[in-house]
C-alpha cells in the first residue's frame, strides 16, 4: 500500500458480538478486526460462511452496532455516533446488497428508488430528483423508460444495476458492496463487475468488496483480506496474495477454487480441509484455524498468533509464518553464507 495514500476508512479492533437467542452464549461474529482502505482503492474481504465478513460490512454501515472498536471514517468514529448523527453521515457511506430480489421496495418505481438519495442528500425537488434518477438509470445500462416501472418487471441483473445506481446517486466516498454479484448468472456477473469498475473511475469511489468468491475479488480489488472465524488471517495486495499466499487457510482456499480449464484442474491437487468451520459461539483456543490446519503444530493450540509482516503491506497471522520470517531474517543478517 502506498504510504502516502490518504486513508479513507480505518477499522481498529472491531468486535461485534450477538447474544445467541434460545441457547446461551455469545456469537463472536467479528472478534478483533483491523483494516484500512486508501481513498480510491478497493479492498476485498473474503471468507466463507461464518467468517464474519458480512458482519464487518454491516457494522461499518451501522446496520449492526459494534460491541467494541473504532470505525474511523475521515476522522469520525462511526461506531460511536448516535443513530441520528449516523443518519446524517450516511450520504458518504453507502451499501450495495446481495439479493437483487429483496433489496428493492416492490411498491416503489425504479425512478423513486433512485431519486430518493438525490432528494435526501442534494436537496433536489421531486422533478429534478426524478430526472437525475432517470439519467443515472440510463448510465447503469437500463432503458430510458425503466424509471417508470416496478422492480418485478426486471431480471436479477437489472435489479442489481438499480441497487448500484441507488448507492452511487449521492456520490458517496465509500461503498460497501456485500456480495454484489453472488446471486447473478455468470454472464451477467461480468456485466456488473465491469460496471462497478467503470463507476469507480468515473465517480472516484472507494470500495469495500465483500465476497466468498476469490476470483471476483482478484478481478475487482487492489488489496484483499481473508477472514476466518471472526478474524483476518491474511491481508495484502492482490498480486502478492494470489501468487504467494502464506497463511495455510489462504492456500487451502485458493486450491479449492475450481478453475474453468479441465487440463489445469487435472493437474491441481485440491488441498482438502477436514471438517467444517467451528461455530463462532465457541472458537477454538489459540489459533482459530488449528483444528483444520494441515500444518498445525502443538503450539498452535495454545498461542493466538500475532500478525507477521511478510512483505510491505502483506501480513499473515500464523506461528509457522512467524518462524519462517525469523529464519529468513536470521539468514539474511548472517550475510551470504
Amino acid at each position: 500500500m502506498n504510504p502516502s495514500a490518504e486513508i479513507l476508512l480505518s477499522v481498529e479492533g472491531l468486535k461485534t458480538y450477538f447474544t445467541a437467542h434460545g441457547r446461551h452464549g455469545t456469537v463472536k461474529a467479528v472478534d478483533g478486526v483491523d483494516l484500512a482502505i486508501a481513498r480510491g482503492s478497493s479492498l476485498g474481504l473474503v471468507g466463507e460462511s461464518g467468517s464474519g465478513k458480512s458482519t464487518v460490512a454491516r457494522s461499518i454501515v451501522r446496520l449492526e452496532d459494534p460491541t467494541e472498536g473504532r470505525i474511523l471514517f475521515e476522522g469520525i468514529d462511526l461506531a460511536s455516533l448516535s443513530s441520528e448523527a449516523m443518519r446524517r453521515t450516511r450520504r458518504r457511506v453507502q451499501m450495495i446488497f446481495q439479493d437483487p430480489y429483496a433489496s428493492l421496495n416492490p411498491r416503489m418505481r425504479l425512478g423513486d428508488i433512485v431519486a430518493e438519495p438525490f432528494a435526501l442528500h442534494e436537496g433536489m425537488n421531486k422533478h429534478d430528483a426524478w430526472q437525475a434518477a432517470a439519467r443515472l438509470l440510463a448510465r447503469v445500462g437500463l432503458d430510458r423508460d425503466s424509471a417508470l416501472r416496478y422492480p418485478h418487471e426486471f431480471s436479477g441483473g437489472q435489479r442489481q444495476r438499480v441497487g448500484v445506481a441507488r448507492a452511487v446517486a449521492a456520490k458517496p466516498d465509500l461503498i460497501v458492496a456485500d456480495e454484489p454479484v453472488s446471486a447473478l448468472d455468470v454472464s451477467i456477473r461480468a456485466q456488473l463487475l465491469n460496471l462497478l469498475k467503470d463507476l469507480q473511475d468515473e465517480f472516484h469511489l472507494t470500495y469495500l468488496f465483500i465476497s466468498h468468491d476469490l476470483s471476483v475479488v482478484r478481478y475487482v480489488c487492489d488489496r484483499v483480506a481473508i477472514m476466518y472465524l471472526g478474524r483476518i488471517v491474511e491481508e495484502g495486495d492482490c498480486d502478492s496474495i494470489f501468487t504467494s499466499p502464506r497463511h495455510p487457510y489462504t492456500r487451502a482456499l485458493l486450491s479449492a477454487v475450481p478453475i474453468a480449464d479441465p487440463d489445469l484442474e487435472r493437474q491441481r491437487v485440491a488441498q482438502l480441509l477436514p471438517g467444517e468451520m467451528p461455530s463462532p459461539l465457541a472458537p477454538p483456543s489459540g489459533c482459530r484455524f488449528h483444528t483444520r490446519c494441515p500444518v498445525a503444530i502443538d503450539r498452535c493450540a495454545l498461542i493466538d498468533p500475532p500478525y507477521v509482516v511478510v512483505d510491505p503491506g502483506h501480513r499473515a497471522a500464523c506461528l509457522l509464518v512467524e518462524d519462517e520470517q525469523r529464519e529468513a531474517l536470521a539468514t539474511a543478517s548472517t550475510g551470504s553464507a
Binding site: 446488497f97 440510463a138 430510458r144 449521492a170
Partner: protein, 308 residues
C-alpha cells in the same frame, strides 16, 4: 419521444402523479373474472349509493306515518301495493325507505368507526413494530389488557354512561375497534424490519419516520384493506345488535337493528317487518366478506408477480 438535435439533452419520461392507478386497473380487471366478488362489490356500491342519496332515493319519508296503511304486505303479496314496495310496519312507515335510511346509518357508523380504528391502530402498530423496546412493550400491554375485556360489554357500558345515540355507539365501537389493526400492523412491520429493502432504506439515510411511512406502510396496505373490509361488516353487525337491544340509535334515526327490534313482536302476523332489515344486514355482511376474501387473493399475485 420527440427527435432531438445533437445539442439538446433529451429528457426522460415524466413521473405520473398518481401512484395507485396502475394497480387499480389491474384489480378491476381481476374483479371482472370473479362473479361472486363482482356481485358483492355491486351490492356494496348500491349500499353506498343508498346511504349517500337516501333523501332522493327513498320513495317516502322513513318516519312518516300512514296509519291507514299499517302492516301492508310487500307489493307482490296479496293485499300489497306498489306504493309501499316492501310493505309497511306497525305505524305505517314504508319499509323500503326505512331500509334505505337505515343503510345510511349503518354505513356512516361503519365508516366512522373503521376510519378512526385504522388511523389509531396503524399508527400504534407502526410505532410498536418499528421502534420496539419500551414503546412496543407499553403499547402491547395496553392492547392485551383491552383485549381481555369482552367487547360487547364495554360497548354497552359506554352507551349506558353516555346515553343511547349514534355518537355513543361510534365511541363505544371505537374503543375496541383499533386493537386488531394494531396487532396486524405490528406483526407485519416486525417482519418487514428485517427485509433487505427496508435496511436499504435506512442505509440510504431516511429517518425512522420516513422508513415507516414511506417504505413500510405501502407494503402492508393490502392486508390492512382486507381487514378493514371485514371489520366494516363486524361494526355494522355490532351496531345493529346494540340498537336491537334498544341501547343504540334512537328514533327518529333509523337503524336496521331498531327495525329488527320493532318487527320482533309482529313476526307471526307481518313477517316482512323483520325479514327485510335482516336480509339487508345479512347481504351487507356477506358482501363485505366476499369482497374481503377476493381482496386477499388479489393482493398476493400483485406481490407475487414481483418474486422469481
Amino acid at each position: 419521444m420527440a427527435v432531438t438535435t445533437p445539442l439538446e439533452i433529451p429528457s426522460f419520461p415524466e413521473r405520473p402523479s398518481f401512484r395507485r392507478l396502475p394497480s387499480m386497473r389491474g384489480m378491476l380487471r381481476g374483479l371482472a373474472g370473479n362473479r361472486f366478488a363482482m356481485v358483492a362489490s355491486l351490492f356494496l356500491l348500491l349500499l353506498a349509493v343508498a346511504a349517500i342519496f337516501a333523501p332522493w332515493v327513498a320513495p317516502h319519508d322513513p318516519n312518516e306515518l300512514h296509519i291507514i296503511d299499517r302492516l301492508t304486505p310487500p307489493a307482490w303479496s296479496a293485499g300489497g301495493s306498489t306504493t309501499y314496495l316492501l310493505g309497511t310496519d306497525e305505524l305505517g312507515r314504508d319499509i323500503l325507505s326505512r331500509i334505505i335510511w337505515g343503510a345510511r346509518t349503518s354505513v356512516t357508523i361503519g365508516l366512522a368507526v373503521v376510519a378512526f380504528s385504522v388511523v389509531l391502530g396503524t399508527t400504534t402498530g407502526l410505532l410498536a413494530g418499528y421502534l420496539g423496546g419500551w414503546v412496543d412493550t407499553l403499547l402491547m400491554r395496553i392492547v392485551d389488557i383491552q383485549f381481555s375485556f369482552p367487547a360487547l360489554l364495554i360497548s354497552l357500558a359506554v352507551v349506558l354512561v353516555l346515553g343511547a345515540s349514534a355518537t355513543s355507539v361510534i365511541i363505544a365501537l371505537c374503543i375496541d375497534g383499533w386493537l386488531v389493526y394494531c396487532r396486524l400492523t405490528r406483526g407485519m412491520v416486525m417482519t418487514l424490519k428485517h427485509t433487505t429493502f427496508i435496511e436499504a432504506a435506512r442505509v440510504t439515510g431516511n429517518t425512522s419516520r420516513r422508513v415507516m411511512i414511506g417504505h413500510a406502510l405501502p407494503n402492508i396496505l393490502s392486508p390492512l384493506i382486507t381487514l378493514a373490509t371485514l371489520e366494516f361488516a363486524r361494526v355494522v353487525l355490532a351496531e345493529s345488535t346494540i340498537s336491537f337491544l334498544g341501547l343504540g340509535v334512537q328514533a327518529p334515526t333509523v337503524s336496521w337493528g331498531l327495525m329488527l327490534n320493532n318487527g320482533e313482536d309482529y313476526l307471526t302476523v307481518a313477517w316482512w317487518l323483520i325479514t327485510f332489515p335482516g336480509l339487508a344486514l345479512t347481504l351487507t355482511v356477506l358482501s363485505a366478506n366476499v369482497v374481503a376474501s377476493w381482496l386477499r387473493v388479489v393482493a398476493d399475485p400483485l406481490q407475487r408477480a414481483g418474486s422469481r
